[in-house]
Every structure is written in C-alpha cells, then in structure tokens.
C-alpha cells in the first residue's frame, strides 16, 4: 500500500491523494446527503402500509400532485418552445442588444426565488403592470403558478441547447440545401434531430426543477387547498402543523416520483444515443 512499493512494482501510475480524496468525498456525502436523506426512508417505514396509503392518497394531496405535475409540465413545454427559439436566435442572428439578452437569460438562476416570487406576483396581480390588462385573474390561480415555473425554468433549455447549435457544422446544412431541401426541410430533418437530446435534457432539468420549486411559487399561487396548493407547499403546511409523519410521507412520494422521472429520461437519452449509433452503422 505504500507509495514506494507501487513504484517498484511499476503498477499503473497514480497521482497521490486517491485515498484522501476518496475518503473525504465519501465522508462528506454520507454525512451531508445520505444520512439526512435516509431519514425520509426511516420515518416512512415506521408507518404501516395502510396508514401510508391513507396519507398519500388523501384528496387534498392528490389534487396537489395533479396541480404540481400539470403546471410543471406545461411550464417545461413552454420553456422547450421558447427556449429553443431563444437559443436559435442568440446563436444564429445578430441584433442590437444581443449580448444583454444573452446575459439576462441567466437571471432566473441568479435571482433569489423569493425575489422572483414577490416580483411576479405584483406584476400579475389584478392591479399589477401586466395583470391589469386581463379580465381574468392570473396571480393566485394555476396560471400564476405556471408563470412562476416558466420563469425559473427558462435558462435550462436555452443553456443546454446553445453549445449544441454553436458546434453544429455549417457543411451539413449546405449539403442539405444543395441536395434540394427547402430551408424548412433542412431545419426539420437535419438540424432538429441533432438538437433533440439537448432539448430533452433541458426539458428534464426544467421539469425536475419546477416539480420541487417553492420560493417563487408561494407568493403567486394563492395557496388554496384543492385549488392552488402545490405539493411542496402541502409539505410545508403539514410541517407547520407539526404533522411530521404526513409531511414525510408526501415528501417520499415526491422524491420517488422525481427519481423515477429522471431515471426514465436517462433511459430515453440512452436509447436515442444507441439508435443514433446504429443508424450511423447502417
């Protein structure tokens, strides 16, 4: 195990520090991530199956799942459409103010969620800068939730797609055009397929972030049970009522859902990559 013996035996060269960095990383992760997260599992297993089922299938919880997943999905899809458009415009075209627009895309990452929350809710309140132009309420309805989730998820699609578009080879477009494809056909059949994995990654990140989002949503949501109560808020409410078991059970459901979602998206990415490799060989 000593360094000198490694040299004598001419084993594959290794920089020093392996055991230290491995030990430190495992220690840090175990203490800070694994131990706390395992508490969820530990507390959930103390419940009987029927108790657990009763908590997580409570109508109030079910309507919060529907709202959370539904609004996160719509927000992520809006981000896919506009994020793709914005990434395309920022990479391909020149226009005045482009660098400001490019920089500002990161705002939702840098701005604290609570600041985003109070700002969006005052913009879209009925007397707000935008809210006043609409006959129906935006803030304190599911539409408000979607707006907040769209805001916080916006950078994900743009920032994952930009490098892919930047590295896209002009030759492929030229080849497609010179073979008689219209511009639309080139975009649809040559450029878009290359972008699909990045768009999917952006969608995955935006959706996963939106599922758990709390800070930007609570201010604009209105937080009415059965109507505008998202799942993270339901967990919070249960915690404030000292219902730790209820909070834990619902948190567990949420966490399992996120993991299953992330895992299946990884599988889809893997399948796409394999299909692409096979297509290349044929």
């Amino acid at each position: 195990m000593q360094k000198t013996s490694v040299f004598k035996k001419q084993k594959p060269f290794r920089l020093p520090g392996f055991s230290f960095t491995l030990g430190f990383s495992i220690f840090y992760i175990s203490l800070l991530i694994l131990l706390p997260l395992s508490m969820l599992l530990l507390n959930v297993t103390q419940l009987s199956l029927s108790e657990f089922w009763q908590i997580i299938s409570d109508p109030r919880a079910i309507s919060s799942y529907k709202l959370t997943i539904g609004s996160a999905l719509i927000a992520a899809l809006i981000n896919v459409i506009f994020g793709t458009l914005i990434a395309w415009v920022l990479v391909r075209y020149d226009f005045p103010g482009k660098s400001i627009m490019d920089g500002i895309v990161d705002l939702p990452f840098a701005l604290p969620t609570a600041v985003a929350g109070i700002t969006l809710s005052s913009i879209y309140a009925q007397n707000g800068w935008i809210g006043q132009f609409f006959d129906f309420k935006i803030a304190f309805t599911p539409i408000g939730i979607m707006i907040a989730l769209t805001f916080i998820g916006l950078p994900f699609v743009v920032r994952t797609l930009q490098p892919v578009l930047e590295s896209f080879k002009k030759e492929e477009e030229e080849a497609s055009a010179s073979l008689g494809a219209t511009r639309f056909q080139t975009i649809y059949r040559v450029i878009l397929p290359t972008c699909i994995p990045a768009i999917l990654t952006g969608f995955t990140l935006a959706f996963a972030r939106a599922l758990g989002e709390y800070g930007s949503v609570v201010f604009i949501a209105g937080n009415m049970p059965f109507k505008t109560e998202i799942t993270p808020l339901l967990i919070m409410t249960k915690l404030e009522q000292y219902d730790y078991i209820g909070a834990t059970a619902i948190a567990f459901v949420m966490l399992v859902f996120s993991f299953v979602f992330l895992f299946s998206m990884n599988c889809i990415q893997w399948l796409l990559q394999r299909k692409k490799l096979q297509g290349g060989r044929a």
């Binding site: 508490m39 969820l40 415009v89 604290p112 477009e173 030229e174 966490l255």
Partner: protein, 277 residues
C-alpha cells in the same frame, strides 16, 4: 429580395419575426421584473429605501446571510475541488454512483431538503432528545440553516470542475509529480492555474444560491425575527405584512448581487473563450 437569401439562412422577414418574438418574451419575462423591483423599491424615495435596508432587522438578516455564506461557500468549494480531483484523476469502481450522489440535491425539492434536517435534529427527530438534553440547538438556529444550505448547494462547484478537469487530462500533473512535487504542490502550481476560471464560476453560482436559498432555509429557520431570518426570509415577512416598498428595497439589494453574478459569469465565459481561441 427573397431570391437573394442564402440557402442556409432564413429570409430577413422570418429572422425579424423570430428575433422579435424572442426579445419580446425575454423582455416580458426577465427585464420587466427587474424594472419592477427597482421602481417599487424607490417609489417612496431614497430615505424610505435607506431606512428599509438599514433598520436593525434588515441588518440582522444581512449579517446572518453573510455568516451562512462565509461557512457554506468555502466548505462546498473545498468539497468541489476534492471530489473533482477524485473523479477526474482516478478510475475506480462506483464512480458513476458517486457522480449521481453529488447531483442528488438538484433533484430534491428545497422544502424536502429542509425537512430531512428537521427529521434528524428536530424535537421529534432522531437526535432530537439527545440535543435537547445537552442544550444544543440546530433546528430553528444557525446550524440548521447552514446544514440545509450546505445540502442544497453541494453540487455547484463540483459540477463546474468535474467536466473541466476531465477534459484537461492529467499529463502535466503526472510530469510534475514524477519530477518530485508533492500532491498538494502539484495541485497548487499545476492544476489550480488551469481551473481557476471554472472554479470562480462554480463559486459565484454557489454563492448566488446560498444567498438566495429560500425553501430549505424556511423549513429549518423558524422565522425568528432578528435572529434566524436570512435576507430572503426577511423579504417574505415584509411582503406578508404588506410592507411592499421595504420588501422590494431588500429585494433590490439581492437583485444587484444577482446582476453582478451574471456580469462576472459572462466575463469569465468571455475570458475562457478568448484563451481557447
């Protein structure tokens, strides 16, 4: 005109429509909120603004936030560097598992990130009775806020450094080590200069998240005014008391910080692009 466009470009009209839509979307979604923050913060004049950010509760919140930053950012930076070294320089079993674990906090809702520490250290938690007997306060106190924030921001520095150090390879480090430099010397003189911009980038992203973390901190802090309210929690309290001007005044401070974060990030990206060209 249409006939003169290059076959690999869209017509000017299409370009203008696409640019217009993007700029409109970004302005409505991102620039308008910025404008609202500053106009609301200053709507009752400079004196009110100054009073809102210099009263004792606001100062206590700013101080607490800075303390949390001073503890969390260095710790997670250290972890980021060490784990990135581990993952980029060695091959070992379970590397992918380790990578997944490092990313895990990204997939956990902030509220759950707070909840798990309540389950550990809260009154009904695993160590609850022990801590109570020994008068140690973690939940509803600074240690809880620090722990929850640490958890949420574990991946930031590591995520920036790992791909960077993997791409840079390790031949220079090996040369340095075979010439007799120790591991630490090799890191400081060879690796650090190569990764400094990526490191700085990771640190400022981590810093922004630490300052702004709301959900996790809100679960563990207990909202004790002047004691356990960080800046985002202070904003929430003010907003819920309909003190909008004061809430936006504190929010404007955090917004300025966010804008600085974006500017530094762009400077770093611009610099790294210059050097690679």
């Amino acid at each position: 005109m249409k006939n003169f466009k290059k076959p690999t470009e869209e017509s000017k009209a299409v370009q203008y429509v696409l640019i217009g839509t993007s700029v409109l979307f970004l302005s409505l979604f991102l620039l308008l909120p910025l404008a609202i923050i500053f106009t609301t913060a200053f709507q009752k004049g400079l004196d009110t603004y100054w009073a809102s950010i210099s009263n004792s509760e606001a100062l206590a919140a700013i101080k607490l936030t800075l303390i949390v930053v001073a503890i969390v950012v260095p710790l997670n930076t250290l972890f980021g560097i060490i784990s990135a070294w581990l993952i980029s320089k060695y091959s070992f079993k379970g590397k992918n598992l380790l990578l997944t674990l490092i990313d895990l906090p990204f997939a956990v809702s902030p509220v759950i990130s707070g909840l798990i520490f309540v389950l550990l250290f809260g009154a009904q938690g695993l160590f609850g009775t022990y801590l109570l007997e020994h008068d140690v306060y973690i939940i509803f106190a600074l240690p809880g806020i620090v722990l929850a924030t640490l958890f949420v921001t574990v991946p930031f520095v590591a995520r920036e450094l790992i791909p960077l150090m993997q791409a840079q390879g390790q031949s220079e480090e090996e040369a340095s080590h075979s010439l007799g430099a120790s591991g630490l010397q090799t890191f400081i003189h060879i690796t650090l200069p190569k990764i400094k911009w990526g490191l700085l980038y990771g640190v400022i992203l981590c810093n922004a998240r630490v300052i702004g973390e709301f959900g996790a901190v809100s679960v563990v802090s207990g909202h004790i005014r002047g004691l356990t309210n960080t800046m985002p929690l202070h904003i929430e309290v003010l907003y819920n008391e309909y003190q909008f001007t004061a809430a936006f005044a504190v929010a404007s401070l955090m917004t300025i910080l966010a804008l600085f974060t974006i500017i530094i990030k762009n400077l770093i990206q611009w610099r790294t692009k210059e050097t690679t060209l």
